[in-house]
Amino acid sequence: MTKTKIATKGLDWSYAPAPESADHFQLKGQYGLFIGGKFFPASSGKRFPTINPATEKILAHVAEAGAKDVDQAVRAARVAYEKVWRKMPGRERGKYLYRIARILQERARELAVVESMDGGKPIRESRDVDIPLAAAHFFYHAGWADKLGYAFPGKMVQPLGVVGQIIPWNFPLLMVAWKVAPALACGNTVVLKPAETTPLTALLFAEICQEAGLPDGVFNCITGAGATGAALVNHAGLDKVAFTGSTDVGKAIQKSLAGRSTKLTLELGGKAANIIFEDAAIDQAVEGIINGIFFNQGHVCCAGSRLLVQESVEKEVVAKLKARMAHLIVGDPLDKNTDIGAINSKGQRDRIRDYLKFGQEEGAELFQTSCSIPQKGYFIRPSFFTKVAQSHRIVQEEIFGPVLAIQSFRTLDEALEKANNTPYGLSGGVWTDKGAKIFKVTRGIKAGVIWANTFNKFDPSSPFGGYKESGYGREGGRHGLRAYLECL
């Protein structure tokens, strides 16, 4: 192992490797599809490898579900819905969710390590954010299961039926929790398709459902890529589709559901502006920018991927940002010192590289830190662009990587104008010590989640979701339940 060297004035600070061990569990060589409470190979016999993006080594082979497997999963979910789950008192449903929450806590270490191996995110994040939040989501929604009558005053509520859910690769297990916990709490049954690059924790979650004794067919997990997802969306047996992913795919799903009564909620892309005013606590704001764009390699739909900084403090902020970025450690996701892990896949790494190219071609100025990165695996140095115009692709389009676009502004109105000038509206940030200004800006940003003097915070009780082309529907909190209930 190489030591990570950090360049600091006059001092040579080096971090010794501090790898999290992966010897306390054993991955299986192969994983099947989880249908009706049991694991099966794909009916076609097809399977695909899932690799560790930090080492490019194969972790396991996973079954690739075809239309026939999807059909079986939807049927299993339907049977479970009609015969078991919809009839079960909410209190009992809730107890299953509590059990699942507890097992997630008990197997937290294993889940965190697998998450980092399969997806490339730093162990510190999977250990401290993804897995605890996933457990918290089950704990939170477990308590709703027998209290749904209080969620929407004046309305009678009932479950929708069978829900098809498609989730992305950036927070694999956390997205399982965001989708599955409210769906089950509300009395629906689920067919889930995890992303093809990060199926492992969803499959471990299927094992956890077995351990919890969850009735067969209440949760089903089918692995595969886009074709599997399309087969799921196009299955006539679904009452609802919930999708988290890119705006393009979300739009395509809405189009393909036209003419059907299948309900839909979408949690899509974002291009959040982090707005720093001259009266902000600058050091805290710089930490916020770092967290906003480099958390999870920037693979975050609500990432603060645009920095809007007031002209009077632009130089100071950019200088401090550079200094802070120089301390970011890019490398082995399993190392507890790592700040930025591996880019999730080769495809995504190439996409980010393309945007680094587009940005320069369009006339923006690229800055990247000079940190060492591993020879093997997919890594990108923390990057930002200055001399950026509002029309640049790196301002308008979601890059989904550790790449920040920096613009300046003079007045509050200009900041809001720029912040809102993208098709997206998922999140936003504001940094100022003036209370009245906070409220003006948080009201003015057209987005579903606003962080004031903080960024990238999540909680099961806090509704999450977008305005405009960032999708519709909310996840989390009382508001999130509406996505999985019929209100009569």
Binding site: A136, F152, P153, G154, K155, T247, G250, K251, A252, Q254, K255, L257, A258, G259, L266, L268, P423, I438, T442, R443, A447, G448, V449, I450, W451, A452, N453, T454, K457, D459, S461, S462, P463, F464, G465, Y467, K468, E469, G471, Y472, R474, G477, R478, H479, C487
Partner: protein, 292 residues
């Protein structure tokens, strides 16, 4: 058709009415210069109404977009009072509306009931103005040192296609929950219902809604619904009484900019429903640290 016949029993010639659309606070004809004949039952001619063009709809969107910032920042108390004033204006013209509705084929009793229900519905939604946020918003008990709350915010510009069976009530039931939330609305009324809609414009224009908050178009449904669904600066589309083909088309077209789409059935039991307000609201959640 008997458009030449005028009620000229005595010496005085009656003054006919020209129905105009309400757009940006002004009464306008279609920019296209086109008009539609409206016939009552038995072929009785009721008059001309505008046949709004796609360009009219685009103009209405511009007017509505201009109005959004001001209206959404109007206090809930004032919004409620303006809706209540609309009810007052409607009540004051109840007998006129009864006649108009009867001329379009409603029985005297049904016309009476519809005018009363429409008036009461305005009062109903006026009352929600400063209350729905307390029902639909929340303070969220996050497990970190943050103050976290969720509020409703209007989506912005909403298009609404009214049904024809309840010429006045469908229109009021659609637009009241949309505007009370702080949205600007562009409505489309068709067939005989257009006459009542244009009459309602005169009520709404005197209720103190800022110009552009409510824009009333009339024309042909099949000509304009597609435009409403595809327009990139419309945030939501609500349709009443659309057939399955139209609903499928709208859902597909709304994917273009992910405008929110709410198809509703023709006759609704749920005219009085605060969740109708919620349909065209977004939920915004704000975090702030709690500390020294």
């Amino acid at each position: 058709m008997s458009r030449s016949r005028s009620k000229n029993k005595g010496a005085r010639l009656d003054v006919r009415k020209t129905y105009k659309m309400l757009m940006g606070g002004a009464f306008v004809r279609s920019e296209s210069g086109r008009a539609l004949d409206v016939e009552g039952p038995g072929g009785k001619w009721l008059g001309y109404v505008c046949r709004a063009s796609r360009k009219d709809f685009r103009n209405a969107v511009v007017a509505a977009r201009k109005a959004v910032a001001g209206w959404s920042n109007t206090t809930a108390y004032l919004k409620g009072q303006i809706l209540y004033r609309a009810a007052e204006m409607l009540e004051g013209r109840a007998s006129g509306f009864r006649e108009v509705l009867q001329s379009t084929g409603l029985s005297s009793a049904v016309a009476q009931a519809e005018v009363s229900a429409a008036t009461d519905l305005l009062v109903y939604y006026a009352g929600w103005s400063d209350k729905f946020l307390q029902i639909f918003g929340s303070v969220n008990p996050v497990s970190s040192p943050h103050f976290n709350f969720s509020v409703t915010e209007p989506m912005g510009v909403v298009a609404y296609v009214a049904g024809e069976k309840r010429p006045l009530l469908d229109l009021v039931a659609g637009l009241a929950p949309i505007v009370v939330g702080g949205n600007a609305v562009i409505t489309l009324s068709t067939g005989r219902a257009a006459v009542a809609a244009m009459e309602l414009g005169e009520v709404l224009a005197t209720a103190d809604f800022p110009p552009g908050v409510i824009n009333l178009l009339c024309g042909l449904r099949e000509e304009l619904v597609g435009q409403m669904a595809t327009h990139m600066d419309v945030n939501a589309l609500v349709t009443q009484a659309g057939d399955s083909k139209e609903t499928a088309m709208c859902r597909q077209a709304c994917a273009l900019n992910l405008k929110r789409f709410f198809p509703r059935e023709s006759i609704s039991k749920g005219d009085e429903d605060p969740y109708r307000i919620l349909d065209t609201m977004e939920i915004k959640t704000t975090w702030h640290p709690v500390g020294g």
